[in-house]
Structures are given as C-alpha cells and as structure tokens.
C-alpha cells in the first residue's frame, strides 16, 4: 500500500463511482447559506449598525467581560472534565462485558434527549444547599448550586455524550493485538496506555473536546436554573443576551452575540488545527 504521488495543486472534482458532485455541492452550499450563513451575517450586520465606538463600549463593559469569562471558562473546564471521564466511560463500555452494559450505554445519550431545562431543574434540586447532594457538600464548605461550579456541573452533564460518542467508535477499532505486542516488548500497563493507546485516540478525544466545549459555550436552558444568575458572578453570556433582548436593546444583544461568535470561531479553528496536526502525526 504505497501512497500514490500527489500532483501539485488539487483537483476540483474527484472521479467516483457515484456521480453527483455538482448537485451535492450545490445543495450543501445552498443549505449552509440558508441555515447558518444568512442568520449569522444578519447578526453581524445588525451589530455593525451600532457603530464602532458603541460596539467597543459594550465589548469592554465589565458585565459583558465577566459574562464571557464565565461562559468560556466554565465551558472549557467542563470540556476538560468530560474528556477525562468521558474517555473512561467509553473505555468501560467498549472493553468490558457486564450486566446492564447496554442500559449504561443507552444512558449516555440521555443528556441529548432530555430538555435542558429539565436537566437544569433536576441538577439544581440535587445540588441546592438543601438537596440530596448539596447538603452533603455543604458541611465541606462547597456550594455548588448558584455558583460557577454549578454551571460546570450542568455543562458536564450536557457535554458528556459528545465525548463518549466520538471516542467510542475509535476505541472499538483498537486492535487488542497491538496492546499484546506492546506487552511482549516489555511495556508496562501504564506505558501501553500512554504510548500506544492514547496517541491513537488523541484525534477523537480532541474532536469530543471541541464538541463538548462548543455545546457548553452556547448552553442556556440548563445553566440558568442552576447558576443563580448573579451579574459578575454567575451570569453567563447567553443569559446576558436574553436580558438585553428583554430590555429591547437589540444592538447590545447582537454585539455580545457577535463577540461570542468570533471567540467561538477562533477557538474551534485552533482546535481544528491541533487536530489536523495530531492526525497527521498519529494518522
């Protein structure tokens, strides 16, 4: 299996047994334009009406900055937590056969299906100072509900399936023989995990991370119930947008949204670049 030499430049059209490149590309572009591009450019256009000075004033407003910090910070933290535990969950589901495995497997998808508000209310009930878990944490001085920790908890809940479902299929493809080969060569269990298994999973883990992160940044429904929504403390950017909307301050709302959009785009782009790099390395 040698790779054929790639000609300089790229061909626009790849020969294939299934025709329809023109049709499918045309459809995809039209579809993306309708669903994503037009609404987003509307957003940018609307906020541009604000004028640069006003836009900047909203952007560097302390309340906006705090909300953005909380949104991106908690989403990042939740994505990191999900990467660690989601990978472990995927590992258990792929590698071991135990009674109830299929039920556990189905349970992973629940956060996808559950209305986020329901999740938020359920988590708040559990983690409130008088809730089941909250009252256990209270004596330890740990307050979860109505703090940024609560936001992280909600985002972990929402983001878990993204990591599990992206890592799981790649994990299933891992050949057990590769681990056995590493063991016969003298690698310890830890070395097998860090040097053989993990590099193969890295691209999938990064994808799961970026999906969970992106979902966390945009999450609204579950967070507003558990966050307590104190400005400067536990107010997330999406909520701030809604507040501005309710004040009929559409320009400010679109400005914050445009900032979020730009930040998310840059972060996802970086993640994508990291992924391309790791895929090239670990192919």
């Amino acid at each position: 299996m040698t790779t054929a030499p790639v000609k300089a430049g790229w061909r626009f059209k790849q020969p294939s047994v299934i025709p329809g490149f023109g049709l499918t590309l045309g459809f995809s572009l039209a579809y993306l334009t309708l669903i994503i591009l037009i609404p987003l450019s509307g957003l940018v256009w609307r906020s541009a009406a604000l004028g640069w000075a006003d836009f900047w004033a909203i952007a560097v407003d302390r309340r906006t900055l705090n909300a953005l910090k909380i949104s991106f910070g908690t989403a990042l933290l939740a994505a990191v937590v999900n990467v660690v535990f989601g990978t472990i969950v995927a590992w258990v589901l792929v590698r071991y056969r135990f009674p109830g495995r299929r039920i556990a497997d189905a349970m992973v998808d629940l956060p996808f299906a559950l209305p986020t508000a329901v999740a938020g209310i359920a988590l708040t009930t559990l983690y409130a100072p008088n809730g089941w878990i909250g009252q256990l944490l209270m004596p330890l001085g740990l307050k979860v509900a109505y703090t940024p920790i609560g936001i992280v908890v909600a985002l972990v809940f929402i983001g878990l399936p993204f990591v599990v479902r992206t890592v799981q299929p790649i994990m299933e493809e891992i050949d057990k023989e590769v681990e056995e080969a590493a063991a016969t060569l003298g690698a310890s269990r830890f070395q097998i995990i860090t040097r053989v298994l993990f590099p193969g999973l890295a691209p999938a883990i990064i994808t799961g991370f970026s999906l969970a992160f992106a979902r966390g940044v945009g999450e609204y429904g579950s967070v507003i119930f558990i966050a307590g929504n104190l400005p400067f403390k536990s107010e997330i950017a999406p909520l701030l947008i809604v507040i501005r909307l309710e004040e009929y301050n559409y320009e400010a709302a679109t400005a914050i949204a445009a900032i979020m959009l730009a930040l998310s785009f840059v972060m996802l782009l970086v993640v994508n670049l990291v992924q391309t790099w790791s895929r090239k390395r670990y192919g």
Partner: protein, 346 residues
C-alpha cells in the same frame, strides 16, 4: 534458549483447547506448529508467550519456570498475523519501542536505540524506510518491520503466529526463504504457527502436527511425510487415499480377494489402508492387486489424477499417473501401493 512445555492443559470457560500437551524445543531450533484451525496451535504459542495462562502444567525457559512470570518479564518476541504495528509511530520508532520502554540502566541511550533500529532494518532488508509510517508499507514490508521489532529486545524465543497468513502466495514464498536465512544467521529459538503444510515442511527443522488440542506427531519433514503415525497425520499431510480392508492371516484383503500386501504383524480384522496416490505401481494381470473402474480422470499440473471405483461397494480412491501413461485411457486400472500403512478401523 530451550523451551519445555510440560503437561500443559488449557481451558477456555470449561472448554478444553489443549489437553495435556508436552513438547521439548531445542535451543536454536526452528519449529513449526501445524494443524487445522481449532487444533490449539495458536493457543500453545500464546501460552509460551504468556499471553494466556495454562490451566494446568508449566512452561520452562531453560531451567526457569516461565509460567510464573508476566508477559513483560518473559522477554519473548511475538509476531502477529496482522502485524500489530503501532500505526502512529515511524518504522524506526516501532522497532525501537521495546528498548525505549525499558527503565533505568537497562534502557540504552536514544542514539544507541536508533543505531539498533537501523541495524535491524538493514537485517530485514528495509534500509531507508525508517521514516515511513506502517500505513505507507506493503503487507510484506510490515511483517518484516514486525519481526525486526520483535528481535530488537533480543528475545529468548521468537514466536510467530501465522506470520505469512495475510500475505499473497508469492510474497509468502519469498518471506519464507528469507525467514530461514534470518534464522540461520541469528540463531534465535523460533516457534511459528501455520496451517500451511508446505510452509511447515519446507521451513522448519521439526514439525509439530496438532489436532483437536493434542499433539499428533513431532518430527522432521521426512518423518512426518514418510512415516505418519496416525490416520490424521496421513490424511492431513500431503495427499492420501484410504480404503477399508480386512486383515486375515497376515494378508490384506479387499472384499474376498487378497491384494498382494502382506502385513505379518497386523492383528486380524477390519482395518483402513492408507497410501499416497503417487506411490503406486500399476500392474497388468490382476492376481493380488487393487483393481477398479475409472470414474474420473483429471490433469493436475505435471501428473494425471485418476479416480477409481473399487469393488462392489464402489469405494473411491485416487491414484496419480504420469501424463502420458496409457492406463489413463483404459476403463479398468489395477495397481498396488508401493508404500502403505494400516490403521485399525475406528
């Protein structure tokens, strides 16, 4: 390093895969485990490697009881049928892996590891490919890298599980010769598993024929082919024909006629006669021979294979004739096996 397998039994969830197997492998020997699928040959190999633990019995490397040691401590080189290369590492990193994961003083310097990897790459005739990834290599090249990786740790034994099973016929033949050369040059005690008898007979110093979790026969290619000790080995190795016969007073009979073979030591009664299709003499008149009606005649490479129906029961046997032999045109052919063996009827 000599390897001794002593009364090993292996069960998978109560299902026995090996029954009480014992085998002595001499130091520096190239030995083949040959058998149909399900005969337990791969299980035996994996037990030697430590990838499985025996239910009963022990495996010795020299005088050490290896069955108490973990896979990592056994220091065996294992080559898998599907290569099992680390696909995120270059060829050189793959080969050096076994040295890189060592600890402390046992671990050579980075430079030394690289030097060893290049040296081994040269041994397996892949110089210049050290920067490639496994996905950029052909099947045959990958298997060579896998072998180099296994040899990098200077293993006590080299174990190969159907190493050429996934390759096409031509590459297989080439690698077979090449493996023999490598073995002669490095002198590792080597055990390989195969279901290809040609491979086993051509390559190995000794062949272990296995069937249904038991060792049927151990011997050189000549032993196995010329003096098979069981009907299984007779029919599994090479071509063979068999006929139900009767032994009376040291004479072999088919139906009511003696066929001119004397078996003075065989017990009287029902038996099965085994012979090689090419190891027969054609005879003219039939006083003491096996005679049959030609049922089919096929040209197979350099010979003609004739299928005969023998006696009233129309038992079919195959014999091989030279292509231009006139007997192939006849409707009745008589022959007598030159070399043959009787096994009691089961």
């Amino acid at each position: 390093m000599e390897v001794r397998v002593v009364n090993v039994r292996k069960e998978f969830e109560r299902f026995p895969a090996l029954h009480d197997v014992s085998l002595d492998i001499r130091s520096g020997e190239l030995i083949a485990l040959l058998g149909p699928s399900g005969s337990g040959k791969t299980t035996l190999l994996r037990l030697i490697a430590g990838l499985e633990r025996p239910t009963k019995g022990a495996i010795f490397f020299g005088d050490e009881d290896a069955s108490q040691k973990s896979i990592q401590e056994r220091n065996v080189g294992f080559v898998f049928q599907h290569y099992a290369l680390f696909r995120h590492m270059t060829v050189a990193d793959n080969i050096g892996f076994g040295l890189k994961v060592r600890h402390g003083a046992a671990r050579p310097s980075g430079q030394e590891i690289r030097r060893r990897a290049l040296e081994l790459l040269d041994l397996v005739q892949l110089s210049g490919l050290e920067k490639r990834y496994p996905a950029q290599l052909s099947g045959g090249q990958r298997q060579r890298v896998a072998l180099a990786r296994a040899m990098a740790i200077e293993p006590k034994v080299l174990l190969l599980d159907e190493p050429f099973g996934a390759l096409d016929a031509q590459v297989r033949r080439e690698l077979r010769r090449w493996l023999r050369e490598i073995h002669d040059r490095t002198g590792h005690t080597t055990v390989f598993v195969t279901h290809d008898q040609e491979e086993a007979l051509e390559l190995a110093d000794r062949v272990v024929v296995m069937s249904q979790g038991r060792i049927e026969q151990v011997g050189t290619a000549d032993d196995i082919y010329d003096t098979p000790n069981s009907p299984f080995v007779y029919s599994f190795i090479g071509e063979s024909s068999s006929l139900p016969v009767k032994v009376e007073n040291g004479e072999v009979w088919i139906a009511d006629r003696p066929i001119g073979l004397s078996a003075p030591h065989a017990p009287s009664g029902e038996a099965i006669l085994h012979f090689r299709p090419h190891d027969v003499d054609l005879v003219d008149g039939c006083s003491g021979c096996i005679a049959g009606t030609v049922a089919a005649s096929r040209r197979v490479a350099g010979t003609r294979r004739v299928e005969l129906e023998i006696g009233g029961e129309r038992q079919r046997v195959e014999i091989e004739l030279p292509v231009d032999h006139p007997a192939a045109q006849k409707s009745r052919v008589a022959f007598r096996p030159r070399r043959w063996k009787l096994f009691p009827a089961s």
